[in-house]
Symmetry: C2
Subunit: 355 residues, 2 copies
DNA sequence: CCTTGTTTTGCAAACGTTTGCAGAGAAAAG
DNA sequence: CTTTTCTCTGCAAACGTTTGCAAAACAAGG
């Protein structure tokens, strides 16, 4: 049981000083090329791998970042996690992942526990109180995604403009009564999207009815679909794609045709073209946000906190098959099964680039 | 810029030895209760948090495990990641997450890079060669999920029996010609499922046609749907739910009715009831597998590798709305749009428990 | 009071790196 | 051939813990 070889062992074997071996890896330009080669060969042969903990202890750099999300099972997060991990890996950083289960207490605990052992933290869709967030931002290096607390370093996926386009598009198609289906109430994105809908509607004489699919799940949305259909709206904008999808599931079961009877627009573009008909939605560049966050954490490794910033990525409207002209008032919506099977409509535009 | 307080600073402040402070946290029973209290109070006040790297260096325990998956964006993995992270957190462990992007080279590199800095590794659906896997298992503490290499520690989500049930069920409904739609060719689960289908079919006089939705995406499956529909099979078993879903998307677009024209059964139960009609599938207990893996890694922290084991979790068939009696031979399948809209069928059984 | 035993604390080495400083050679300049 | 200037390598301290061993303090038994 000799365990893994260490720098000291390598050095002894080669008859040189440990510091030389160390430099062969970290500052090869200080060394004679042949020395570097020799060390590398020996390291390879012995299967040497550097001990990150020792390095971290010595340099004060952790070589890792923490990523905290409310619920990894929500399809919004995996692409974000993936982008963060890939980019971090390119930068030679590892990533700790933690899931708060939507619980603020758990989130707070996780932040405290992770912060000291990492270069910095990315906290996505935080459910913490603003005061607490500012406090944390003061003493820890943390980049927030989709949470807008002044003076913190935050990256926001802004859908306001895209929602305006969406509403304008619906308005052009003749829709006047629309519904907004809210998601998690503590979510910044939810508040932002709701008020984007409200503001545009007020300015353009649209009537908006509010619903809330509280836990934000497919099932919750599906359960809501009947009341939405019965409310007399002709179009709905949902907080996100899974809610939109749940609604569509409910509509399909009740024989309400999308988009003939009801137009629906989702948000986040997490489902791409996997719904039927393909869901019109607002695409949002999570990958770019994630990369920006890890970049921010990897810069200025000395500082004890990130300087405030407010970075915005705009979402873009993607029209696919779930929006159409308003149903003429003469043929009111019934909740009976329909007889015709809608052919897929495909008004499709490209998605936002993610590079 | 004093930085975070250390054990030594705390000790100096209190006029006691660093070792005493250390013990106040790690072995409080060795100390006079009032000493412990005093240290805790001071630590609290000073905002002391232990340095994990120093601890790891000193004890040789990393306090973290690594989790390596081929593609976090595939819905099979998030629940697994979530379960692993939750359970690890309960055990006081953090988790490093890495995504190999389905690339064996990347996977190998990630394993080598992570292994030395963690207590152990969980590698899910490895795409590495068996020889390499055995090699790795010899020198690293690693638990494999869904990869069956002898003498390694592996946890398998076995769907063989459930696939037999599925085929028996289809057979009872009168189906004789079925298709198996394969997923990632290097996947152990894919091989296992394919041969389960083959074996049962041979024994029960079913005729099976093979297809492969190679990258395993929704789109690949959708693109395949026409040939599947045209092949004359009356039922399909897909490698996983996303392939099943893609097929259904293609069928819907072509006017092929599920389950009237074609029955479909998925696998892994990643989509739950979010398809229309709700997908019949094979539920698999990923959470249990994940927890078993972290438990294995947290035991025997001294050893340099895990002792071989082969742990099986059986999947269970969940019948929902996508299977039905075979279409009578007198009314052959056409590829024209149908006129009737299928009402949701709901032969539903419970899912496997996940606790 | 002196042993003896037990509980509580301190000393110092160790974990595997990195890095400032200085020494040893070698090359360049005089 | 000496001095100066580089280039390359080694020494040793430091990073913040843990832990075996031993010393000190205290309690109990005689």
């Amino acid at each position: 049981m000799t365990g893994r070889p260490t720098i000291t062992q390598l050095a002894a074997e080669l008859g040189i000083a440990p510091s030389t071996v160390s430099r062969a890896f970290t500052r090869p330009n200080l060394l004679k090329p042949e020395t570097v080669a020799m060390v590398q060969k020996a390291a390879e042969a012995a299967g040497y791998v550097p001990n990150h903990h020792a390095r971290a202890l010595s340099t004060g750099r952790a070589g890792a970042i923490g990523l905290i999300v409310p619920d990894i099972a929500n399809p919004f997060f995996p692409p974000l996690v993936r982008a963060a991990q890939n980019y971090a890996s390119d930068l030679g950083l590892s990533v700790f992942l933690a899931d708060t289960d939507e619980d603020p207490t758990r989130e707070d605990r996780l932040i405290s526990r992770m912060a000291p052992q990492v270069e910095g933290l990315i906290v996505v869709s935080s459910r913490l109180a603003s005061s607490r967030i500012r406090q944390i931002a003061d003493s820890q290096r943390v980049a927030f995604i989709n949470r807008d607390v002044p003076e913190t370093y935050r990256i926001l996926l802004d859908t306001t403009a895209a929602i305006r386009s969406a509403l304008a598009h619906l308005s052009e198609l003749g829709h006047r009564r629309i519904a907004y289906i809210g998601g998690p109430p503590q979510s910044w994105a939810n508040k932002q999207r709701r008020s984007a809908v409200d503001n545009f509607s007020k300015a353009h004489a649209l009537e908006v009815t509010h619903f809330s699919a509280d836990p934000g799940t497919y099932e919750a949305a599906k359960a809501l679909s009947d009341s939405v259909a019965a409310s007399g709206v002709t179009a709905v904008i949902a907080f996100d794609d899974v809610i939109a999808h749940g609604l569509m599931g409910g509509f399909a079961a009740a024989g309400v045709d999308v988009p003939k009877d009801l137009s629906v627009i989702g948000c986040d573009d997490t489902l791409a073209t996997t719904t039927f008909p393909a869901l019109s939605t607002i695409a949002v560049n999570v990958g770019a946000a994630a990369r920006r966050a890890v970049a921010a954490l990897s810069e200025n490794p000395g500082s004890t906190s990130l300087t405030g910033a407010r970075i915005i990525f705009e979402g873009t409207l993607v029209l696919r098959g779930t929006t159409g002209p308003v149903r003429p008032a003469s043929s009111p919506l019934t909740l009976e099964p329909e007889l015709d099977h809608p052919a897929a409509r495909s008004v499709q535009t490209g998605r936002g680039s993610d590079s």
